[in-house]
Point group: D2
Chain length 341, copies 4
């Protein structure tokens, strides 16, 4: 069996394990104030071109989203996002658990656009009973989205303009940030993301780390006392060094982007094969997630040798599925899959 | 100016004020354990045909909804409701404030049906990553709905069957219960409501009381320690007697239903006049709320002499509005409005 | 039986009922934006000498405390108060229900002092692991306290200095404010309270209203969007006029203070009688609550004719009890009680 | 510099790193349902003698405590614990963040006893206004405590009896469980803990793992849907295998207890040296934490070569400090410290 269920099926990139081994007996203070974390912070600020950003390391994505969002909102505010957004669909209501409504907007291929956001904000503020309606206090988007799609630079700039007009922060969930930025269809850089987002995170878990997400806070008002929020939400790792070591490794010699680029190359290979064989796609993802629509017959046949995720029924005899590539995927694995299609 | 903004524009039915006057100097214990409350409980149980129900009195609807819902759900559960449901649209996220997601289903004229509920429940439970998705733990419907429409007896029975199958309680928000039950289109009684709902409330605020909602709990597991929940949610009135006196008055000599019937009669009068003059309706409400679609010109003209609520833009030159009748509405007021149409 | 359990045993001061009667058929918009509320706001601002304050009316004390406190705190902040504080001891964890820790300080006779507050704040901020400790974000005190005691003007000024130094708002719970301000031992006025507190509330429920608490917000940062918080916490009364009418009545012709002064006079009468008969007191309350220590024998004997609250066991044969006077207490009732002592 | 700040200063026990290396390229499903986790579950059940227990792996202690506690409590319930309990003192109000009050009891050397718990429970339930008071719904104790002290078997049995009488679950925080169980003063085994606790956790972070806590649930009612709670609280690690691998390693060949025993031996060595040199102790910890009282002079002198935590001022010229030993502490390090004392 070769598994393509997700991009977190294996341990971690070997370079990370090597560094953990090398540093294992060093004594460091806990909770993310050690030298490894500071070193990782310095590299990330350099890469992002944001010398004044605050960088925090958390363990996982759900925790990161709930912490960032709940720390930014007033009690009566909610967070706008696409209906397919991870916080709306796949985090067991972690945001609501902190007391805030997720205000879902119907997206297209996982994306929402500036005018939808404008409409949502103006509708709430212009409603005669506006105080009876949750006030949007933040915009959450994923880059790339949960369907592997990406925003263009212009789309992000337009979205940011609306956020700025209404004075709400833009939060970008970058659980798979590298896959987006190294996609052949991408027209922006991590410096662009860092310049546009008020706060975003760089995902480690799905890009070669054992675990870990690096939150980059640009907006001044979101920086204050953020470590209290991390601790209260259970995201402050005692051995915080583990996060520093991993991110320092990923952002040394461009490793983070190399990993992603290779996963994208293999996804493209698979995608091209699928298309040439006449398969339709659920969404036009240009990143490491591939969403072909299979006949039930074909799906069953493939399932004997390959692991992949069922994504949703299309009709009585077809289902959309997801194949993910990652740092650990090999040409051999993809070739086997292509051969079986 | 004659106002039709809502059904809570005046003080209260004169009979209630009279009883408050008569009992004003009686000394009673606080927090709803006094004789007036017990008397009201006895009458309501009698009227509902539910001798074993627990009856609690709270002050307002938002508070009642949040208290009932949060006391019934596990932390990881959410409440299903129509997108137009009051808890989803007009309570500033009070349910989410208690930590629970509102799981909105697209309704029709404010109503949802049994198969939608079945689909939502089976989809969540059958999802391979079901633990990452909020589990529906209760169904909330409004009777009548926020658009004044009502469910038939069969529709409610079908909905209840699905709830029973999945073992989730059915909660009926009866903020305007009397208007529904005395509608000419209604095919059920308060005894039917009480037999179908696991928990429901009888609205006082919008039906002639100064304020107050009576929660009727049938399901055994929802009864335990409910008074703690009321207190914690700020709904336990110190002078609880005020609620007992009001509900005892409303449920003596059928006053609650007489009030509603008369309001419905006046709404019908208005509705018939509107229709005979060719106005379209936003929704076919058979209760005390009337939702005609007006040209902007007409709306502006009427606004000089009458108060009514804008409900939503229909197109560039038309808007849907709401007129409400209540215990205090008179034939003269409705006749004036009809004359101006 | 004559009941002295609390100061909310009867309906309301007759003047209020009269006004409710007179205004019953007036049509007003809901939710506290009507003319009666605005009139009450104007009078209260005048009385308090705070023309720039925001005034909001809520239904009950628990709800008011939770709303004010949760709207002022960041998620990781808690509220300092005395262990005997109402929010710590008698509100079923309503503050914690909104996500915030109550940071209780051991008081004396219900009061805490400036140096305790200073110590708590400096201890948290100086702790090497300060981010692991809840940050105090507000100070809550009751005036008068739950034991009927009152702060001197100097004590309040000292407390406020500490709050200002650490930049946390001072919130005064005035559920029984009038009883404190008209006590013979009081050396301050409502204008002093209004000048010292960042936010406070004027209690109606325990001082002659049917219900209702008037929140006075002085601090600019606490004013923004407060109505959203009221709505979300279930405290926004649909027929908000009821609160406006009641507070306008109470603050016309000094009624609020007259009620309290008379209740204090009767409490003094009882207190003097108790002392002259040799009873000890649990606390030296100079307001409308009286806390004598009775032998179990005496308590049982009195309980045959009078209602009063058990406050706590003192030893094997004695218990502290509470007698309350109110707007409705008469000289005859107190004389009967004194005769029975 | 040699650091004794805590027991989580280094990476992890080398055996764990070796296993991570060996398994790095295996493909496993995420979220803790992989074979490594199942293997670890089987070993832990065997070691604990609880074949019917549910075992879950979470990342850190604060998260584990908040998840276990909030999943067990009704909204109006709180959790009893010692004032020094980690949840009360060092988790930034994470429990309150989930809506529940921590009901702190004054302990002695970090411990509370059965009669205190009985008193707290009977006081709340017997209070005439019991619904206005948070209901204790769980008891939390730490074994060993935050001061390194341990309960005897009889003490735990007595505590459990009270919990059973009032039908509240007993939760034991075993962040340092091994250090307690291998203490020379300990009279019980992990099987005893598992037989007494309704739910407890076995700490990994402070006992040689990179991170991780293993929750053992015995009580049937606490088992249902627990994975939803983990996910919602951000504790479900995507690469759950990392937790399975670590705990399987720690519980193979008794490694978990060997690590702890050695740390205790070194702590005893230090303790004996301190005592023989006449130092007083803040608490009589028989585990891996040592709390001597140092003169400020001595503390300053030691701080030049050793890292340790200030625990609290004793008087004007003395402070209590904490030295921790761990799996990584060596005889050489302790000997250096002893020489410097």
């Amino acid at each position: 069996m070769i598994l393509f269920y997700s991009d977190y099926l294996e341990g971690c990139h070997p370079e990370i394990l090597k560094r953990l081994q090398q540093t294992n007996l060093d004594q460091t203070p806990g909770y993310g104030v050690d030298d490894y974390c500071n070193q990782a912070r310095a590299i990330i600020k350099e890469v992002c071109g944001t010398p004044d950003a605050d960088i925090h390391f958390l363990v996982g994505g759900t925790q990161t989203n709930a912490t960032v969002i709940s720390s930014a909102l007033k009690p009566y505010q909610g967070v706008l996002c696409a209906t397919t957004g991870h916080i709306n669909a796949h985090e067991t209501g972690a945001v609501e658990h902190t007391g805030h409504k997720v205000l879902a907007l119907e997206g297209k291929d996982g994306k929402i656009n500036a005018s939808q956001v404008e409409d949502a904000l103006s509708a709430q503020h212009n409603d005669p009973s506006y105080e009876h309606i949750v006030q949007p206090g933040m915009l959450y988007i994923s880059y790339p989205t949960e369907l592997g799609t990406i925003y263009s630079k212009q789309e992000l700039i337009d979205i940011k303009k609306v956020c700025a007009k209404w004075d709400i922060p833009l939060f970008i969930d970058g659980a798979r940030l590298g896959y987006g930025l190294t996609s052949s269809k991408c027209d922006l850089t991590i410096k662009d993301i860092a310049a546009i987002a008020d706060v975003f995170y760089i995902g480690g878990t799905k890009q070669g780390a054992l675990f870990g997400e690096a939150v980059v806070i640009n907006k001044e008002s979101l920086k204050k006392d953020f470590r209290y929020n991390i601790k209260q939400n259970g995201g402050m790792l005692a051995k915080g060094r583990l996060l520093g070591i991993q991110f320092a490794t990923l952002f040394t010699d461009n490793l983070y982007f190399e990993i992603a680029r290779n996963a994208n190359r293999l996804a493209d290979k698979l995608r091209n094969a699928l298309k040439s064989k006449g398969y339709r796609m659920l969404a036009e993802s240009p990143t490491n997630q591939v969403f072909p629509i299979l006949s039930d017959e074909k799906a069953e046949e493939l399932a004997a040798s390959f692991g992949f995720e069922e994504w949703g029924r299309i009709d009585n005899s077809h289902t959309a599925v997801r194949f993910c590539t990652s740092w650990a995927t090999t040409d051999e694995q993809i070739d086997s899959l292509i051969a079986a299609l």
